[in-house]
Structures are given as structure tokens and as C-alpha cells.
């Protein structure tokens, strides 16, 4: 019996829910994650970074508090990662302490899809943050954001899919979560803060608040599979 449980754990680590355990024993079996680039946030997230399978929800009502910057170190790592894999081996150590990739995670190069962003993603700024703008794909699909995100996730062409929408229909959220679960792309959905009151199948839900004083950002982990709700303060 013990052997069969062990087998189960080995076989289907992605689907299996498990409470977070401190220590590195289970970390190897945990689903692959992508370091956020913020050490304080990494410590609070199960797996030590953004989950690469499953939907991430970021809830925020304010613009300009660093809601996109939160993702930039990870997105930059995805771009850089591809270059490193293509050009040199072994890949050079990246600047971010947390974002050194394991060898099996390389080869995640792909496009970064921005589905229905509220404004224009500004290329010079993205380039300044170390993001390869030639790999951006902007999709303006107001009203059909979920469909476009779903297509982008299923196509396996993107290493990250960011969407701005507020699906009211639990079915479409569920479908999005399934597509995110099946793909290895980073799937992020930005929703208003109000949506945090209704349940969601997302694996990770964060609420963002500006602290109003300086550049800092308060990240409240509303839900994380295998983690505890906690509030992290990030200084930019």
C-alpha cells in the first residue's frame, strides 16, 4: 500500500494537491515554478515562484502601482532564458539572484502574449526592463479575451500569456484554468479587486495594493495552492 502511494506521488505530481512542506524534500516533486525576482515574494509562494502550470489571478483596481512590474523579472527571465539556451552553454548566471534556471527548464522560449491590455504596452520601457520586444504579441480582443487567452495557451507558442478581463461566468474561468494547467506557459489574468470575493479555480490569487507613500507594493496572497494567505511588502 505504501508503495502504491509512493507511485502515485511520483506519477502525477502536477495534479496532486499537497500541502506545502518546509524543506527541500518535496520541492523537487512540486510543479515547476518560475522565480518572481523578488526574494520576499518567492519565500511566501509554494514552489518558490510563479507556478508555471495553472492560472494566476492578480486582483487590482489601481493603475500605476507596479502591477505589471511585478511580473517583469520573470518575463525578462523567460526572454533571456531562450537566448541563453540558443547561444551559449552553459548559460550565463542571470542578474537576478533567484532566477537561475534548472537545465530542464530551459527551452521555454516563446512569445509573450498581451491579451486586451488596458493601454499600449510601451516598447522602450519593456526593452529597458530587459524584455525582448521582438517576442511580444499584442492581441486587442475586448469582449473575447478569454477565448484569445485560451487559444494562446493551447497553441504552445507562448511562454507567457497575460490577459485583462473579468469573466463573470465561472465556466470560462474554469476553462481558462484547465488550459493553463495543460500548458507550460505562465498564465496571468488581471481582474478587479472586487472579483476576489467570488471563488475562482486559479492556483494563485494575489491582491495588490499601493501603499501610497513610496514605490512599495503590498501583495496579499489571497489563495495559493499549498500555501497560506499572507501579505508581503515589496519595495521597488
Amino acid at each position: 500500500m505504501a508503495a502504491s502511494i509512493e507511485q502515485l506521488l511520483q506519477q502525477n505530481s502536477a495534479r496532486l494537491w499537497r500541502a506545502r512542506e518546509p524543506g527541500s524534500g518535496t520541492a523537487a516533486a512540486a510543479p515547476a515554478s518560475l522565480p518572481t525576482g523578488y526574494a520576499a515574494l518567492d519565500r511566501c509562494l509554494p514552489g518558490g515562484g510563479w507556478p508555471r502550470q495553472g492560472l494566476i489571478e492578480i486582483l487590482s483596481d489601481q493603475r500605476g502601482i507596479g502591477e505589471v512590474r511585478l511580473l517583469l523579472p520573470a518575463l525578462a527571465a523567460l526572454c533571456r532564458d531562450h537566448d541563453a539556451a540558443a547561444d551559449v552553454y552553459p548559460p550565463p548566471r542571470s542578474a537576478h539572484a533567484g532566477s537561475a534556471m534548472l537545465p530542464h527548464e530551459r527551452g521555454s522560449g516563446g512569445w509573450i502574449a498581451w491579451v486586451s491590455p488596458p493601454y499600449r504596452p510601451y516598447a522602450p520601457s519593456l526593452a529597458g526592463w530587459g524584455i525582448d520586444v521582438a517576442r511580444m504579441l499584442v492581441v486587442n480582443s475586448a469582449g473575447t479575451t478569454e477565448w484569445a487567452m485560451d487559444q494562446a495557451l493551447r497553441s504552445e507558442a507562448c511562454s507567457a500569456v497575460l490577459g485583462w478581463a473579468n469573466p463573470r461566468d465561472p465556466q470560462s474561468l474554469r476553462r481558462l484554468q484547465l488550459a493553463a494547467e495543460a500548458s507550460r506557459s505562465l498564465a496571468v489574468l488581471y481582474r478587479p479587486l472586487q472579483a476576489g470575493l467570488t471563488p475562482s479555480p486559479a492556483v494563485l490569487r494575489l491582491a495588490l495594493l499601493g501603499n501610497g507613500v513610496d514605490d512599495g507594493l503590498q501583495v496579499r496572497i489571497v489563495k495559493s495552492r499549498g500555501g497560506r494567505p499572507v501579505t508581503v511588502s515589496l519595495g521597488h
Binding site: R63, G110, G128, I131, Q151
Partner: protein, 543 residues
């Protein structure tokens, strides 16, 4: 003063020795360095078959002539110099005394029942291309010589078709049967000489055949200068000098001829006599796929239409597979009983080969949103021009399809099919000071550029550092919004941007990084120009 047709080595060299002897005399094998240019005498020998269409104007309008009731005598006319001039006419009209260049009125006086047709350059070119398409069956090297000539390089084909005479007979039969065109042939080692012989048509219906380049000058000698189609002025001048044939022309001194008539004519003589090789542009088959299917009974809903289109798609894929080529655009035309034709255009991001699944998927997406004005009676599938497919190496150990980027075109097509072309784009930095002009939407880069796409390359050349770019907001507003500045705290700035006076979109702004009471950071600017209306605007968010 050396004669034009001077042989380079005085005496005649036997053909068997020629290829090996001459290069050694000219330049030894040792100095075939990078500067070595193949001389006309060292290149592989070619034989050019010229097809001349002496009655192109009439032949191109043969369908129209056949449709005329009662077989009237026909002449083709052209609008020229404020009047209609006869350009070609049938043999029986010619027998009555009508000549090319006559005015229509003079021709009508000679042949009262004459029926005139306007010439149609488009159909003439179509006929020429049709001849070239037949030529492709005989040799891969085909070249057009508008308006009325086609050249085929047939050296390699002679043995296959059983000699020059057999080849000519077969070609003539095919052209006569398929196109009803009157043709004249000539085969020589030089394309221009072939054309001259074919135009001159000296030996009646027997085609001229010159195998050896050394004989060319002697064989060209009796041709009248008219076959060269030189401009009228030099020909007239030559006539007054008593020069009426190519041979007499070749006897003139080279330098004097070039001074008097230009280097171009001298170069033509050199090409015709085979002294200089003439490169020919190859004719490429411009093929398209077109197929139609009648719908019986008529189809009004798009789901059944998709089924009806499937055989056409299969046919198209077979067509592409046979040729090893691809298409980038397709058009589906639906004909109705009373309504105008419904057209559905599909455009692929890349040329695609025989991929029925992908075509059908895109078609389904487009048809699903189509509203038919009426039931469709027949459907036509037309391809855009055929495109050579690019051969890609498949990585042996590639396990992640994202890395190869092969899925992006599919994704872009699928999104565009539903959202429209403009809704899906990539972005690019532009070295420009005005914020709204410092980026632009571009076609998504289908294959990632390894080096050039890195942000560092551009920053190095334009002295823009990543730090200075990080002072730009992540979100940019398309149109700056007026804002009240009294509740904002200006944190950084001003950064003055004054530029663009040359294209009418000049700006003079002081940009600040500002923070609102809720803690959001904005990019605001104050207009430096004294204009009516608000002076402060939000232009971006530091998201």
C-alpha cells in the same frame, strides 16, 4: 581598323579542339583566380531556339475573329497619331493591297467589307506566356522576348526529342493545336541570332539551324537589317551608306561604328555573333489554382458549405503537393442567384504547403461569421500566386515546440481570423524622442531573431541606456488625457522633449513622474506651447 567579325585567332580551329585550346591561350589555368570571368568562348555551349510569332496580333484575337458572323475579312488596328492605323491583317486582305501602317480609311477603300478589331496588348502577352508555358515542357530554361518572341535553351533536350528537326516539328504541332498560333523557329548558339533568324524567316518554313558559333557571322551576313529591330534612324543612316544587311554591317570598323551608332548596337552585334554571352532572364511559371464546384442543391448555411468546400481543398493540396510549392492567400467565391458574389479571403502568415487541416480550420473560423445574402449556387476556390516553400531544418532533439516557434503562425492566423488583421501585432522600439513615436506596431516576428532582437544592440547605437528607458512608463496612452495637476506630487522632472517640427507633429513638453494620492505613479507632461485648453496631460502609467 579591325573588322567587326574578326576572329580572335585568325585561322579556323576545329570544333573538337576549341574548348580546350582557347582558355589556355587567353589565360592559363593558373590565373583562374577570383577575378576570373568566364569568357564567351569557355562557357558551356548553349543552343537557343527562338520562337517568333509573326502573326501575334491576329493570333491573340483569334477567338474574337472566330466569333464574328459570316467570316468577314479582318484587320487589327491600333490608335496612333490621332487616327486608327492597320497593324495586321489576314492574307486575303493583304492580297487586296492593304499594308501595315495604312490608315483605316485607306484600307476600307480597298476592302469595303473590312472588319476592324482593336489590338489588345494584354491578350498578346497572354498568348506569349501560353507559348512559354508550352516551352517549359521541352526545357527548363525559357525566356520571354516581348512583344512576340520566346527563347528556349534546347541543347540538353535535343537528344531526348530526337534531334532539332523532330523537336521543332513537335513544338510546332503542339502550338498549332493548343493555341492556333503561327510560329517561326530558328536554333543557333546565340539567343539574339536565333531571334533575328526567326524574324527574318529567310528559308521559308524550314527552320534555320546553326550548331557552331564560328559559323554565326557568316550565316547572319545575308539577313536584312530590319530583323534587328534597331531604331529607324540608324537603319536609315546605314541605308544611305549602302549597308543593308547584317554582313555589310559586320564589315564596318568597330570603333567608328560605336562612335556613330552607339555602344548598344555594337553590343547587339557582338551578342548576335556570339562574341559576347547574353544573359537571359528566366521565365517563371506564374500559376494559380482555380477550381469550382456547382452546389446542387443550393446551400444556404455555412456549416454545409464547409463540407462542400472540402473536395476543393483536397484538390488544391494535391495541386500544391505536385509542384512542391505553397500559397499564402486563398479566396473563396460564392455565387448566388441574384446577389453579387460573396468573397471570403484567407491570408496565411507564412506560405503554407499542402496542409488541408490548417486551411480547413481557418476557413471554418471565417465561414462561421459569414452571413450569406442568399443560398450559394456554386463555389470557386482560387489561390493566390504560388510561392516557393522555405525548407526548414527540423531539430533532431527539439522536444519543445515553443522553441522552434512553429506554432506562432497558427496562433496569429486563428486570432486574426476572428478579430481582424489589425488586432494582432508585435511591437518594436523606434529611435525617436517623441514618446508616441518611439514605438510602433509591427507584424509579429515569426521566427525570433537571435542576436539583433536583443535590446542591447539598439541601446548601444543610440546611446539610450536601460536606466533611461526604465524612466518610461509601461503603459502608454494613445491620446494623452487632460488632468488636474493640483492633487499630484511631482517626483521627478522636468524632462523636456521638444522635437518633430519637420513632420508637422511637433511637440514641446515637460515630462514629470507624478504620484497621485492613491499611490499610483503617472507620467504627466505640461505643454510648453501657449495654446488654449488644458496644459497638463497624463501620457502613461508606471504599471
Amino acid at each position: 581598323m579591325a573588322p567587326l567579325a574578326r576572329r580572335p585567332h585568325g585561322g579556323r580551329i576545329t570544333p573538337a579542339l576549341r574548348p580546350s585550346l582557347e582558355p589556355v591561350q587567353q589565360h592559363g589555368p593558373t590565373d583562374r583566380g577570383p577575378g576570373y570571368a568566364p569568357d564567351a568562348r569557355t562557357r558551356p555551349r548553349e543552343l537557343w531556339l527562338a520562337i517568333h510569332l509573326p502573326e501575334l496580333l491576329l493570333d491573340s484575337l483569334r477567338d474574337a475573329v472566330r466569333a464574328l458572323p459570316g467570316q468577314p475579312p479582318v484587320a487589327v488596328v491600333d490608335l496612333e497619331r490621332n487616327g486608327r492605323i492597320v497593324r495586321a491583317c489576314e492574307a486575303r486582305v493583304q492580297a487586296a493591297g492593304v499594308r501595315d501602317g495604312m490608315s483605316v480609311n485607306a484600307a476600307l477603300a480597298l476592302v469595303p467589307g473590312l472588319h476592324t478589331l482593336a489590338r489588345d496588348p494584354r491578350r498578346e502577352h497572354q498568348l506569349l506566356e501560353a507559348v512559354a508555358r508550352h516551352g517549359v515542357r521541352f526545357t527548363p530554361r525559357v525566356s520571354l522576348e516581348p512583344p512576340d518572341g520566346v527563347l528556349l535553351e534546347v541543347r540538353g533536350s535535343l537528344r531526348l526529342f530526337g534531334g532539332a528537326r523532330q523537336l521543332c516539328t513537335r513544338l510546332q504541332q503542339e502550338l498549332a493545336a493548343a493555341l492556333g498560333a503561327t510560329v517561326r523557329f530558328a536554333i543557333t548558339p546565340a539567343p539574339l541570332a536565333s531571334l533575328w533568324f526567326a524574324r527574318a524567316g529567310l528559308l521559308g518554313s524550314r527552320p534555320v539551324f546553326v550548331r557552331n558559333r564560328d559559323e554565326l557571322a557568316a550565316r547572319l551576313a545575308p539577313l536584312p537589317l530590319g530583323c534587328t529591330r534597331w531604331p529607324q534612324r540608324p537603319i536609315d543612316t546605314l541605308c544611305t551608306m549602302g549597308v543593308r544587311t547584317v554582313g555589310e554591317c559586320l564589315r564596318l570598323p568597330r570603333d567608328g561604328f560605336a562612335r556613330r551608332f552607339g555602344h548598344d548596337l555594337l553590343a547587339q552585334l557582338d551578342r548576335a555573333t556570339g562574341r559576347v554571352q547574353e544573359p537571359r532572364a528566366a521565365y517563371a511559371l506564374a500559376e494559380k489554382f482555380a477550381a469550382r464546384r456547382d452546389l446542387e442543391p443550393e446551400i444556404g448555411d455555412t456549416a454545409r458549405l464547409e463540407h462542400a468546400l472540402q473536395p476543393l481543398l483536397d484538390e488544391l493540396c494535391q495541386f500544391l503537393r505536385d509542384r512542391g510549392r505553397g500559397v499564402q492567400a486563398l479566396e473563396v467565391q460564392l455565387r448566388h442567384r441574384d446577389a453579387p458574389v460573396t468573397r471570403v479571403r484567407l491570408r496565411f502568415v507564412q506560405p503554407i504547403g499542402a496542409q488541408p487541416q490548417r486551411m480547413a480550420e481557418l476557413l471554418r473560423e471565417r465561414l462561421a461569421r459569414l452571413v450569406l445574402p442568399q443560398a450559394a449556387r456554386n463555389v470557386r476556390l482560387v489561390s493566390g500566386p504560388l510561392i516557393d516553400l522555405q525548407a526548414d531544418a527540423i531539430e533532431l532533439f527539439a522536444h519543445d515546440r515553443r522553441e522552434s516557434g512553429e506554432n506562432l503562425p497558427l496562433l496569429v492566423e486563428r486570432l486574426r481570423a476572428r478579430l481582424g488583421n489589425a488586432a494582432v501585432h508585435g511591437i518594436e522600439c523606434v529611435p525617436e524622442h517623441r514618446p508616441e513615436a518611439a514605438w510602433r506596431a509591427v507584424e509579429p516576428a515569426l521566427l525570433p531573431k537571435k542576436k539583433s532582437a536583443r535590446p542591447t544592440t539598439r541601446t548601444a547605437t543610440h546611446a539610450i541606456t536601460p536606466e533611461s528607458r526604465r524612466r518610461r512608463p509601461l503603459w502608454l496612452l494613445d491620446v494623452p488625457e487632460p488632468c488636474a495637476v493640483d492633487r499630484l506630487v511631482l517626483e521627478e522632472g522636468p524632462e523636456c522633449i521638444e522635437s518633430g517640427w519637420w513632420d508637422g507633429h511637433d511637440v514641446a513638453r515637460d515630462y514629470y513622474v507624478a504620484r497621485n494620492p492613491q499611490g499610483s505613479r503617472l507620467w504627466v507632461f505640461r505643454n510648453r506651447r501657449e495654446v488654449a485648453g488644458p496644459r497638463w496631460f497624463v501620457h502613461g502609467w508606471f504599471a
